[in-house]
Symmetry: C2
Subunit: 336 residues, 2 copies
DNA sequence: ACTTGGCACTCGGATCAGGGGAGTGCCAGG
DNA sequence: CCTGGCACTCCCCTGATCCGAGTGCCAAGT
């Protein structure tokens, strides 16, 4: 009985604190929420919750603030994620439907997500390792120079200028093109790389050169850590802790490697992961929470997408938005 | 005689203020700079400069701060832009030389520029209107569906999935491809669009469909306003005015259209444009300066690139960095 | 065994006065 | 036209005071 009320108190505190950004006291609590008990009772509960580590007091004589542990309990005890309104769903659909290519999908998602959550949104580009080669194209730029274009199943395009060891006539170019496509098209990246590397030493130099460049392009780690970021302006709402919190985050947003570490491994689509404060991998961001999920085919997430914000954030709303956007993105990519 | 000294005083004030971010007084001035006059003399000069609108006092009894007009004079009277050190030049070269494609060049430039200037850097992608069509590629995805890939001279790649009104066999595809390339390859975008649109009604439906999609892709204004932004973390150094200055800027950095307006028309490569405070087109950014220049072939700039920062910035250094980076980017693009 | 009202206590934050100091303007003399 | 001197003006820092929200605890009530 009391146990239940304590959870209710914790929940109320979290909600109020998220809304007001100020430590919440016993009196205000009973007023704003329909708790049918006196402030004194709530005080006892709060003392107990503090004892167990779910709350803290900034000062001896101030209201209570949830700890990371408190948020964690709050999130875990969320019954169901509240579904988005019909209007929001429609907005998502219409916003994403106009996308013309992969870049566009990612850009729109990131913007959409940041607007829905009023937070910093991060969308990782589909991982190379999960995609297959759709086509390889060679365009002659000069007799000894060509442009190799690599098109992947996810819609990603890589291109490289290749200097040839010897001039190549059109016929040779066509032959080379079909040889490369024969080896790589339809294959998963890892296999395609292997196949290209195997294109033996017995082949003419030009083949080797081009195959190597393509294989390198495919294994380029740089392109495996591409992310899009949006809504950085929402950081301005961080309020205080400017130098200690906002600045490192702004820096991280440009360091994609750090950002990806912060986002963590792509989880299976459908499951929304919430990392609260110090639960994350980077000490500096101990007052930052991350809400992510994977997107792409069910058991085989292409990459993750999510939101980064202050520990004091609207978890239910954020989780709902992240999940919804992931779902739509998955569908869009499926169609293309 | 006094005229010259006044300029010297203004210059000294600008330098000190930029360095310390605090109003500068007469005594500190004569000490830190080798002015061979007394503080009283400097005070007279300052009073005159204030009279003419080059300086202001935050409070009756505080030091002086340059006005926009003061910065303007300072910038105009800069003798020569101080050249970068050899080390810096080397850094630029090595930083940009590793770029593999257009995206990479732009990304690296933006990062480089923000690091050199410790400011927010903005690089516009080469304008579509100045580039030519290098190649058009069609890849069959399904009998009635193909992927059209458009490769431009600047290295930009656009792709679209096209649903065909009728199935297309390989031979037709090859014919279609060469017809499209014949019409568009080598042409400036505007001409290519026209040529594609002309691909007459007498042609089979598939041709029309694909040609239209390509023409649309080329005239897509969305892609004409692409920019890359970097160094947003440097905004953290804005110090005070957080909500009034940093926030709108952060927002603008995501609104590429606004950002481009702020950057202004691409100026001829070689000329560095400085827009100080209220000289800019957007009232909200009246305490923000913009330093830009064009890049690309001499008289025919592809696009602009530059830096956005507080009016109180190191103009000589910033101008030098912007010019140097533009120069290198031009060279790199020329080679590719 | 909880809950409740009462009460003393704590402590942060707002408010205010006072003093120090940096900087100015002006004037009279070089 | 430059310079030293001097009175004056505010800004801002410091310390003291006060107020009130909020707590913890206790004793009484259900």
């Amino acid at each position: 009985m009391q146990e239940e009320r304590r959870i209710a108190v914790l929940r109320a505190i979290v909600q109020d604190y998220v809304a007001t950004e100020e430590p919440v006291g016993s009196k205000a609590l009973v007023e704003r929420h329909g708790l049918n008990v006196s402030p004194a009772t709530v005080r006892n509960d709060m003392a107990a919750l503090e004892e167990e580590g779910y709350l803290t007091q900034p000062h001896t004589s101030a209201g209570r603030v949830p700890t990371d542990k408190g948020y964690r309990l709050f999130v875990d005890r969320l019954g169901s994620v509240k579904p988005l309104s019909a209007a929001e769903k429609r907005a998502i659909a219409s916003f994403l439907d106009g996308a013309v290519d992969l870049d566009d999908v990612v850009t729109r998602s990131v913007r959409l997500l940041s607007q829905l959550t009023r937070q910093v949104a991060v969308v990782q580009y589909p991982t190379l390792s999960r995609s297959t080669v759709r086509h390889i194209e060679l365009v002659a730029l000069a007799p000894q120079r060509l442009l190799a274009v690599l098109i992947l199943s996810t819609g990603r395009v890589e291109q490289r200028v290749v200097e040839l060891p010897e001039p190549l006539v059109d016929d040779d170019l066509a032959r080379l093109r079909s040889r490369l496509n024969l080896a790589a098209t339809g294959e998963v990246i890892a296999d395609a790389v292997a196949a290209l590397r195997r294109l033996g030493p017995e082949q003419p130099d030009a083949t080797r050169t081009v195959a190597d460049v393509l294989a390198d392009a495919m294994s380029d780690h740089r392109s495996d850590s591409r992310v899009a970021v949006g809504g950085a302006a929402n950081l301005a709402r961080y309020g205080d802790h400017f130098d200690s919190a906002v600045r490192p985050l702004l820096e991280a947003l440009e360091e994609h490697v750090v950002l990806l570490k912060l986002m963590g491994e792509a989880t299976a689509a459908g499951t929304v992961t919430v990392r609260i404060g110090a639960e994350g991998p980077i000490e500096e961001f101990s007052s930052t929470s991350v809400v992510t999920t994977g997107y792409g085919p069910a058991q085989d997430a292409l990459a993750s997408l999510g939101v980064v914000g202050p520990t004091r954030m609207d978890y239910p709303g954020t989780m709902a938005a992240v999940r919804a956007v992931a779902r739509y993105v998955t569908r869009i990519l499926d169609e293309a």
